[in-house]
Each structure stands twice: as C-alpha cells, then as structure tokens.
C-alpha cells in the first residue's frame, strides 16, 4: 500500500519522502513533538525545495507507530496533526500519508488516530475531524459510541485554536445531543465557543432541547 502511494506521488509529480519508524522518531522527537514550529518550518522548506527543483510538490510518508504508543504521546501527536493539517491545507502542495502498525498499537489507539485524518484505510472510522477551508471539518457520524473518541479528538482542536472554533458540519451525517455537549464542554474548558457551519436544521433543535451551551449554529 505504501509503495503504491509513493508511486502515486511520483506520478502526480510530487517528490516523495519516506520516514520509517526510527527515522520518524529522529525527525519528530522521541515520543513527543518537541518543536512543532521548527518541524512545520522544515516541512515547508522541503516543499519549497521540491517545487524549486521542478516537482509539483512534496509527499511525505511517515510510519508514526513509535510516536503514538502512549495516551500522552497520542494527545501530543493529535495537536501536531492539526497544526500540520492546517499548514498542508493552506499550501496545497504537500500531501501526507501516515502509516501505523495496528497490531502493535491496538484497536483503541488506531481509532484515536483514524479520526484525526480525512481519509483512512481501511475505511472503518466512524468520524473524521481535520482541517477545513475555515477552521476544522467534522464528517461522519457521532453518537453514544463515539463520545470518548470525540472528546479526545476535539481537545486537540480546542488546544490548537485561538478564539472560537469554527466547525464545518456539512458532511456530518448524524449527531446527537450528547456529542454536541462534548463539543460545548471542551470549548468551555478553553474559554471558547463552537460555531457550527452548514448544520442541518435539526442541530439547532438538539441544541435547544438538550440545553447545549457554548455551541451555536452559524446563519447560512
């Protein structure tokens, strides 16, 4: 799968870079992203160099397994993922494929990592929370079974966002009042508000009926 991805990047004219687990640890820092700003700047340089050399962009393939073996490391990594995702999104010439050893990490960790990415293979992730055009985008389905997953995923968003958190929910197929409460409580803890964009009419009713605080629906 990784090979075909690298090949795909080449075909698309991007210069690929592959970091195996040891190399990723060396680049990112041992179990903790010690310098996210420096790393972002380095990625931007890599992309700029690739473009200067005639490539259409830069593609990075990272085996991140060793970076996310503990809950603390995953929380730190999730914040990094959101920062990087936003930078990638704003540039448009970087694509990234994160590879994780599901056998080593276990199902819970894999689920936590899966929801941070716009797409996952295999595609069995209940929802996706990633950088959008303005703020973040939340796709998929949220219910009783995803409350803990949503809480940890959204914590990485609130802690990397200054001010109100704009969430595009145009591709959110289902949400219940419990999940809206989770978003509101996370935002409240950071003194923020959640602003939902392109919400279905029912979302406003769930906010009203559920007494959800710190979450508002943006007028369309």
């Amino acid at each position: 799968m990784v090979e075909s991805y690298v090949l795909g990047a080449r075909v698309a004219g991007r210069r690929p870079m592959f970091l195996n687990s040891d190399e990723a640890t060396a680049v990112y820092g041992d179990r903790h992203i010690t310098d996210p700003d420096g790393l972002l700047a380095d990625f931007e340089r890599q992309a700029a160099d690739a473009v200067a050399e005639g490539y259409s962009g830069w593609a990075v393939v990272v085996d991140g397994t060793e970076l996310v073996t503990t809950p603390e490391a995953r929380a730190s990594f999730a914040r990094w993922e959101h920062l990087a995702d936003r930078m990638f999104r704003s540039r448009g010439d970087i694509i990234a494929l994160c590879v994780y050893d599901a056998h080593e990490l276990g199902a819970d960790a894999v689920a936590e990592l899966g929801v941070l990415h716009q797409e996952t293979l295999p595609d069995d992730t209940p929802f996706h929370l990633f950088a959008g055009a303005d703020g973040v985008r939340l796709d998929g389905e949220l219910d009783l079974s995803t409350l803990n997953l949503l809480d940890s995923a959204f914590a990485a968003v609130t802690s990397t966002t200054d001010g109100d958190v704009v969430v595009d929910v145009s591709q959110l197929e289902f949400v219940d009042h419990r999940s809206l409460h989770v978003l509101g409580r996370r935002a409240e803890a950071h003194g923020q508000h959640v602003v939902l964009r392109s919400a279905r009419p029912m979302v406003q009713r769930l906010i009203d009926v559920g007494g959800v605080r710190h979450v508002t629906v943006a007028a369309t």
């Binding site: 209940p126 389905e141 219910d143 009783l144 009042h177 009419p201 029912m202 009713r205 009926v209 559920g210």
Partner: protein, 301 residues
C-alpha cells in the same frame, strides 16, 4: 390557602367571550402586581382582545397557538422552558393562560393526558396554569375530563359527566396493518438501525429521514441502556410518513408520562425527549410478557 410553591391547575369554563377576556385581563394585571411572569397562548381572536385590555411589557409573553407546534410535547416544552426561565429571572410565580382546541378527534386523548402530566410534572412548581374551555362548543365528555384533570374550577352552570382519569392516555400510533418493510432483529448498535434507513433514501424526503434517524437512534440507545442491551426494529414506509417500532425485553417503563417528562440536568432523559420532539407522534407502552415497545410516526410537518 395554597402555598406559593405549589401548582394551581385551573379550568375556566366560559360561554361569553367578552366576559372571559375581561376576567383574563384582570387576572394578568393582578399577577403583574404580584411579580409573576405570564405566558398567554390563546387563539388569535382571544389573544388580540386580551392584549388590548392590558399593558403589554416584558413580564407578559404571547405565544402563537401555531398548529405545527400544537402537540402535547411541544406545549410541555414551551411551558417548562418559560417557567424555568421566568423563575430563574426572579419571577415570584408563573401564570400560564391557554386554550387547547379539543375537536372530538383522537388527539383529544393526547391533550387530556397532557393535562394529567401537567399535574405531575409541575406539582412543586409555583405555576398557575389556567386552561380555558369554551363551554358552548366543547363536547360534554371533554368538559367532564377537564373537571377531572383540574383541581380548581371557575365557571357556573356546567354539569360534569363521569370521567375515569386513570384511563386518560394518549392514543396509540396507528401502524400500517401489514408486515414491516424492513425488519432488524436484536440490534445492538444505534448506527445499525440508522444505516438501514439508507435503503429508503430514494423513497422518503430528506427531512423525514433526518428526523427518523434521530428518533430511531435514541429509541435504540434507550433500549441498549435500559432495555436489556438490544432491540428489534421495524420500519413501515408510507408515501409521506415513516413508521417505526423499537421493542426491547428489558425491565419496562412504569411511568405513564415518560414521554412527556422534561429532562432534568445533568443530562438525563434527553434522548427520549429529543426523539419525541422530532417525531410527529411517539408512543411508549409495555410489551408482553416484559419490556417496552416504542412506536413512532415521522411525517412531513
């Protein structure tokens, strides 16, 4: 003398519109002086006449008696929210003045059940709920039930008939008399019940499907949490409505007002409440030999 923290549920029988408008206007002015907040939900003609007789300020709220929202659950929702907000805002009491349109249809049963639920839900709330009954047009059996569901009565000359209060329960959701279009046995995840609705994507309007997803998701969630961990789900698809049945074999619900009881903080009972708000009709009953069967109709508004 009634204590100020208890409910007063008053039936006001009238046959003279001018007289009742005068009476209501006087009541509102009296409530205002006593520091009460007043909610008025009357047909346009009555509401208009009352508003001309009183000073309208922010202590008085007029709610349109909008047909789309004229259901027991939405009436309860409005009254509950108004009372809580007014009391939190420092009102000494809350006065609600309303008139339900009893018309002899099966929905009359739902509204009598609502009146019973008000007695239970607001028992310890400083609320005076004054319900108007047009004695000239309301059927005699409705007047008898109104007598039975209200502790206080105003208005002379009406001889109440007999009414068995305990039997005032909502009428069931009339499921189509045929085999279900979709049957799912022993569902253990709400998502499984929602995803099955995808098969009806091209048959039902998006709004109905959205609301149906919420309704079935919450009913299955309740079955998982309270009803033994699994539910049997049935769908019937009609041209402009979806019918849903969710049955479990758990301990059952022993509360005739379960679907009309506003949820309390911290988060409890919101699921059933939200599904009742989204459904056009929702009915919960005991299942034999044990368990609960919830039936719902989700139709275009």
């Amino acid at each position: 003398m009634t204590t100020s923290t208890a409910l007063r549920h008053v039936a006001l029988f009238y046959d003279d519109t001018d007289a009742v408008v005068t009476r209501i206007a006087a009541t509102i002015e009296q409530d205002r002086r006593a520091g009460a907040a007043v909610l008025v939900c009357l047909p346009d003609v009555l509401a208009g006449a009352v508003s001309e007789r009183i000073r309208v300020d922010d202590r008085i709220t007029f709610l349109a008696a909008d047909d789309r929202y004229a259901r027991p659950v939405t009436a309860m929702h409005a009254l509950w929210n108004f009372a809580n907000a007014a009391l939190a805002d420092g009102a000494s009491r809350v006065q609600s003045i309303g008139q339900i349109s009893f018309d002899g249809s099966p929905s009359d049963d739902d509204w009598h059940w609502y009146e019973r639920a008000v007695n239970d839900v607001f028992a310890d709330v400083p609320l005076t709920a004054t319900c108007l009954f047009d004695a000239g047009s309301v059927p005699p059996e409705t007047l008898a039930c109104a007598h039975a569901t209200h502790a206080e009565h105003i208005g002379e000359g009406h001889t109440p008939g007999r009414c068995d209060v305990e039997r005032l329960l909502p009428h069931p959701v009339g499921l189509p008399q045929r085999a279900a279009d979709l049957a799912l046995d022993e569902v253990t995840r709400p998502a499984a019940a929602r995803h099955a609705l995808g098969r009806l994507d091209d048959v039902l309007a998006p709004d109905i499907l959205d609301r149906a997803r919420l309704v079935v998701s919450e009913l299955v969630t309740n079955a998982i949490i309270h009803g033994g961990g699994r539910a049997d789900v049935r769908y019937w698809c009609e041209p402009s409505a979806l019918f849903i049945e969710v049955a479990d074999d758990g301990v059952g619900i022993d509360d005739p007002f379960a679907t009309l009881r506003p949820p309390a903080f911290p988060v409890r009972g919101f699921g059933l409440w939200a599904s009742h708000i989204e459904a056009t009709r929702l009915h919960v009953a005991a299942r034999h030999p044990h368990g609960t069967v919830a039936t719902a109709q989700v139709a275009a508004p």
